[in-house]
Symmetry: D2
Subunit: 355 residues, 4 copies
C-alpha cells in the first residue's frame, strides 16, 4: 500500500481565528470522551485560549489524531505543573478519587477548576466515602460549588472549584427542580436511559457494537452512585423533606450520544395541570439552555447541544406527575456544561461558544 502523505490541512485553522487574549485554560485528561469534547469546545471558543491538553495515554499524538471528529491540533502531553504557570483555568477529566489531588495542585497554581469527577459533588464527606471510599482531599470540599448551572449560577461565578454534575443528575434535577422547590416530591422513581458514549472510551462487551447495538441493558441495579448526588440536591431545594429518597435506575441503549431521565413523582398533594404548567414556566422562563416543550422530547433534538429539553405532565389516572429531562450526556451532561460554567466564572455571557 502506498499512502498519500498528510499535508496539514489544519494549519489554516490550527491557529485559532483571532488569537483571543482571554483566559488561558487547559484540559487535564483529554484522552477520554468528556475531556476530548471539552478540549474541542474550548479550542473553538472565541474567548478562551486552550493552551494545553494532557493525558496519561496517547502522549505525543495530536488530539485530532486520537479523536478525528475533533479538530484540535494540540499534542497530548504529560501533566507537568511547573510548565503550567500562568494558566487561569483547568478542566479536570479524571476518574473519581484520582481527580482531587490534581484539582488541589491546580488550585495552588492559582487556576480555577471545573472538575468533571464526583470528588467534589457531594457536600457530605461521609456520603462520599460511603460510595467512593476515602476522600483524597476533604479539606477542599467546602470550597467547591455544585456545578448544575441553573441551580447555583451565582455561587459558580465566584467559585474556585466547580464540581460539574454527573450527566444523570443534570437531566434528572432539571426535570425535577420545580417540583422539589415547591415541596411536592413525596417519592420519586427516575428511570434513565443513555447512549453508549456514557460508558466512555472503554473497550469491552459494554461498548462493542455487536453487543451494544440493538440492545437495551439496565446496569448497576439498585446501586447507582448518582443517587446521593440527586438526593442531596433535591433535599437542598426542599428542606422540608430531608428524608427524601430517590429510586434511580440507569440503562444503556443502542445509540451514541443522548440521555433521557424519565421521572415518576408521587406528590405530597394533588397537582393540577395548570399549576404544573405555571410552575415550570416560572422556573425556566429565563434559562437560555432549558427548553420547556409541549410534547415529549426526543434526545436527538438536543444532540450536540448544551440544551436540556424538559416536559412535565400530570397523570389523572394515578395522580402522579411525570417529568422528562432530555440532554446530550457528553454535552450538557458533561463537557458543554463545563464550558457554560467557565463562561460564568470568567464573566462571559453564559451562552458564549455554545450556540
Amino acid at each position: 500500500m502506498s499512502c498519500v502523505a498528510s499535508v496539514s490541512p489544519h494549519e489554516a485553522i490550527a491557529s485559532q481565528p483571532s488569537a483571543p487574549a482571554g483566559p488561558r485554560v487547559i484540559v487535564a485528561g483529554a484522552t477520554g470522551f468528556t475531556g476530548a469534547l471539552a478540549a474541542h469546545l474550548l479550542w473553538r471558543h472565541p474567548d478562551f485560549e486552550l493552551v494545553a491538553v494532557t493525558g496519561r495515554s496517547e502522549q505525543g499524538r495530536r488530539l485530532q489524531d486520537v479523536y478525528p471528529r475533533y479538530r484540535v491540533p494540540l499534542v497530548i502531553e504529560a501533566l507537568e505543573l511547573e510548565r503550567l504557570q500562568g494558566i487561569d483555568a483547568a478542566v479536570v477529566a479524571y476518574p473519581h478519587a484520582a481527580a482531587a489531588p490534581t484539582v488541589a495542585a491546580l488550585r495552588e497554581l492559582g487556576a480555577r477548576v471545573v472538575d468533571l469527577s464526583a470528588d467534589f459533588r457531594l457536600g457530605s464527606q461521609s456520603e462520599y466515602e460511603k460510595w467512593y471510599g476515602e476522600h483524597p482531599r476533604p479539606e477542599l470540599l467546602e470550597d467547591a460549588v455544585y456545578g448544575l448551572t441553573e441551580l447555583h449560577r451565582e455561587r459558580i461565578a465566584g467559585a474556585g472549584i466547580v464540581a460539574n454534575p454527573g450527566c444523570y443528575p443534570t437531566a434528572s434535577l432539571l426535570a425535577l427542580a420545580p417540583l422539589a422547590r415547591a415541596g411536592l416530591i413525596a417519592d420519586v422513581v427516575i428511570d434513565a436511559k443513555q447512549g453508549i458514549s456514557g460508558a466512555g472510551r472503554v473497550f469491552d462487551e459494554t461498548t462493542h457494537l455487536s453487543m451494544a447495538g440493538e440492545n437495551i441493558v439496565p446496569y448497576k441495579v439498585a446501586a447507582h452512585r448518582h443517587t446521593p448526588e440527586i438526593e442531596e440536591q433535591l433535599r437542598a431545594l426542599d428542606p422540608a423533606h430531608p428524608e427524601l429518597k430517590v429510586q434511580f435506575q440507569a440503562h444503556l441503549v443502542s445509540l451514541d450520544q443522548g440521555e433521557m431521565a424519565s421521572c415518576y413523582v408521587t406528590t405530597t398533594r394533588p397537582v393540577a395541570a395548570e399549576e404544573l404548567r405555571a410552575m415550570y414556566a416560572d422556573a425556566y422562563a429565563d434559562e437560555p439552555f432549558v427548553e420547556l416543550v409541549e410534547r415529549p422530547p426526543g434526545v436527538l433534538e438536543v444532540r450536540e447541544t448544551n440544551f436540556c429539553r424538559v416536559f412535565a405532565a400530570a397523570d389523572e389516572h394515578t395522580g402522579k406527575v411525570i417529568a422528562f429531562g432530555a440532554i446530550d450526556n457528553l454535552w450538557k451532561g458533561t463537557s458543554s456544561q463545563a464550558v457554560q460554567n467557565l463562561n460564568l466564572m470568567f464573566g462571559l455571557p453564559e451562552t458564549r461558544g455554545l450556540l
Copy 2:
C-alpha cells in the same frame, strides 16, 4: 438497466418439508409486522399447515416479496370466508375494533382464533369502551381467554378465542406476576422501552431512520392503553388489592426489535433478598420460555426468540423491588406467543416450532 430474471429459488422450500397433516391455519392481516411474522413462524412450523394469508393491501403479491426476510411464498389474498371452509385456526392481526367482527365470523366457521388486537383482552366491557370506544362484539367477551400463556395455560388450551396480550403487558406481567401473587405490590411504576418495530408498518416521522435512529422518545404520556390490561391482570393475581393502579410509560428507542419493561415496586411489606429469590424461582422453575437470570438482561439476548428474561432485585436504599422483563416485542410480545398459544390449543408441545 437489465435485470436477471427471477428463477424461483424458493420452490425447493415452498412446499413445506413434510406436508404436515396437522391443523390448517390462516393469518388474517398478514401485511403488518406481527401478522407477517406469525405467517413466517407458522409456515416453518412442523405441525401446522398455513393455508392462506390475507390482507387488505398488497393483494396478489407473495408475502415474501413484501417481507423479503420471511420466506413465505403464499400470495396475499382478500379475506373471503366462503373459501375458508375447513380451516381449524386463525391468527387475526387487525387493528383494534376492526378485529372483533372478523373474529366472530371465523368463530362461526368453526375456527379457533388467536386475536392479536385488544378487542378481547379486557374482561370488562366498560373498561374497554373507556379506552377504545364502543365494543363491536361484547357478547364474545366472556368466551375469550387472556393469552399470556404463563398465567392462563389451562384455560387457553380449551379456548375458542385467545386474546393475545399486548407486548408491554407481556413483559410487565412476567416481571411482576410473582410479586402480585404474593400480594406485595402497593404501588408500581413501569417504564417500558421498545424498538421501532413496535410502531409497526407505519411510515412517518416516528419510524424514519433519520428521526428514530439515535433517539429515545417517550410517547402517549399519561395515556397508555396498555394500563387497564396490566391492571386487570395484576388485580386478578392479587384479589386483595382491587384498587391497584399502574403508572405505565412507554418509550421508543433506536433499535428494531426488543423491549424492556423496568418495574419499580413499592411493596406492601419489606421483602428480603432471599424471599424474593425463592419467590421468582418457584414461579418460573418449570416455564420453558421464562429465563430467570442472575444479572440484568439485555433485549438482544432474547431477540428473535420466544423467551422472556426476568431479573428482580431488592433495593436496600429505598426498600423498593425492581423487576425487569426483557422480550422481543414482535416475538414473545406478539407473534411467537400466538404460536405458543396455538400449540397449547391443539395439544402440541408448547415449545414446538419455537426453539
Copy 3:
C-alpha cells in the same frame, strides 16, 4: 394527559445575536432535509440575514417545530414573490424540474440563487433531457456555474445562479479531480455509500428503521442520474479524454448522515506512490475544507461539517489507484456547500459560519 404549556425558550435566541446588516437571504423549500439544514446554517450565520423560509407543506408551523433539531423560529410560509422584494439571495431546495421556474423568477427579482436541484448542473441541455425530461428553462443554463466550490471558485464568486452539486458528485469529484487533471483516468468505478438521510424526508420502506436499519442496499443499479454530472466535470478537467465514462453505483447503508465515495481508477500510465502523494498535496494544500489524510477516513470524522476527507493510494498488485472521498451528504454534500458558495458570492471569507 395534562401538558405543561410551552413558554418560548427560543425568544432569547430568536432574534439573531447581532442582527446582521448583511445580505438578506431566503430558503425556498425549507421543509425537506436539505432546505431545512440550509435554513439552520443561515439562521446562525453571523453575516447573512435569513428573512424567510417557504414550503408547500407545513405552512404556518415554525421550522423548529417541524425539525426540532434546528432552532429556527421562522414560520414556514408560501412562496410569494411580491413579498420578497429586496432580498439579495435565495437557496432553492426544490425537486428537479420544479426548481428552474422558481430560480428564474427569483433571478428576475434580482436575487442571486444557489439551486440545490439538478436543473442547472449540466452544461449540456441534451444530456439533461436524456435523464430528466424536457428542461424548463434552458435559456438560463449558460448563466449557471457548477457549484463544486473547489473546482470553480472564481466563477462562483460572480455567478447569478450556482448549481450546487449532488452529494455523490461532490465526494467523487474531490477524490478524483487531481487524477483527472493529470489525465490519468482511463477507466473508473465509483462505489458510493450513503446514510438514509440521503433519501430525504420520504416515508416508505426505504427509510423505515425496521427496514433501513442494519441494512446495506444498492439502488438505481446501472441507472444513476449522477453519472452525467460526474462525467461532464471529469471531462472538463481532462479535455484529452472526452470519451471518459464513469461506472457509478450508489448504496444506502444503516446510518443517518454520511457518505463515502470509493473510486477505483485504471490509470492511463503507471503512477508511483510518490507522484500520487505530491499530486494530491499540490491540489489541496490551500483548500480550507479538503482534508488530505494519511489513513482511510470514516464518514463519522466529517459528520455535521463542511469538510471532505480525501485519501488516495496506489495498489501495487493491480496497478490501480484507489481514492476515497468522505463527506456528510447533507452538509458538504448539499447545504453547507451552499453556504460556502454564498460566502464566496457575497465576498465573505469562504469559511464564515462553517467552522
Copy 4:
C-alpha cells in the same frame, strides 16, 4: 443489591430434544464470534451431537454465559486431545497459522475437520506464504478442499479437511462464478461492505459503538488478504485467463451482521441482458441456498440465514456487468456454511438444521 438466584431455565432444553445418535462433533475456539455461532448451530442441529466446546479464554464458563444470545449450556474447556477420542468431526475456529497444527492433530484422531481459518484455503503454498508467512503444515494442503459449497460440493463430501472460505470470498465468488465460468471477466473491482461483527470479538476503536456506529470506514486499502483466495478460485473457474487480477476493497459499516459484495466486471465481450439472465438462472436453479432476485437485495434479507442473494445487471452505458452478493458474514459467510459442509461430509441433506 440483592439478586434473585439463577434457577436453570435451560435444563429443559439443555439435553437436546432427541439425543441424536448422529456424528459427534466439537468446536475448537468457541469463544470467538464464528466459533460460538457454529456451536449454537450444531447444538440445535437435529443430527449432530455437539460434545464439547473449547477455548483458550473463558474456560469454566458456559458458552451461554459468554454469549447470552446462544443457548448452549456446555462449559468451555481446554482442548485436550486425549479426551476427544471417538469424535467424528470438528470445527476449528482459530486464527490463521494457529489453526493448522490443531487441524493436523484432529485429523490424526480420525476427525474430519472444517477449518474456518485461511490456512488451507489456498492451493498454492507460495501464495499463502506471501500473505501469511510460513505455512505450519504444508503437507496437508493437498488433502484440503476449498469449502465454498456451491463450487466444490462433490469434493467436499469426501474431504478430510474442508477449508471454509472467508466471508468476502463467499459473497464475491457466488456473485461472480457464472461470469468466470463463461470466461467473461476481463477485469473486476469488488467493493465489499460488512457489519462490525466482521471484526470479531475484538475490543478497540474499530468496534466501539461510539466510533463504529454511524460510520463507514474502508480498511486494509490495497492490501487485503482475501484477494488471492478470490483470484485462485476465479482462475480455476476460467482457466483461459490465468492472469486474472482482482481489485478488492473492504469497508466496515454501521451494523452488526451483514455483508454486500458489489462487483464491477469489465467483460471480455459484450453481454446482453438476456444472456446474463440465462447464465445466472442456469448456474443457480438448483441451489438451495442461492437466491437469484429480481431487484438489488439488502443484507437484512439474509440476516441470520445461510442464504446468499445474488443480483446481476448489465450497464448499457459502460458495457460493464454489475453483480451483487448479499450474505450474513457470520452465517453463510462462515459458520452456517461450515454446517452446510458438515451436512455434506456426513451424508445428510445439505439444508438440514439450516432452514
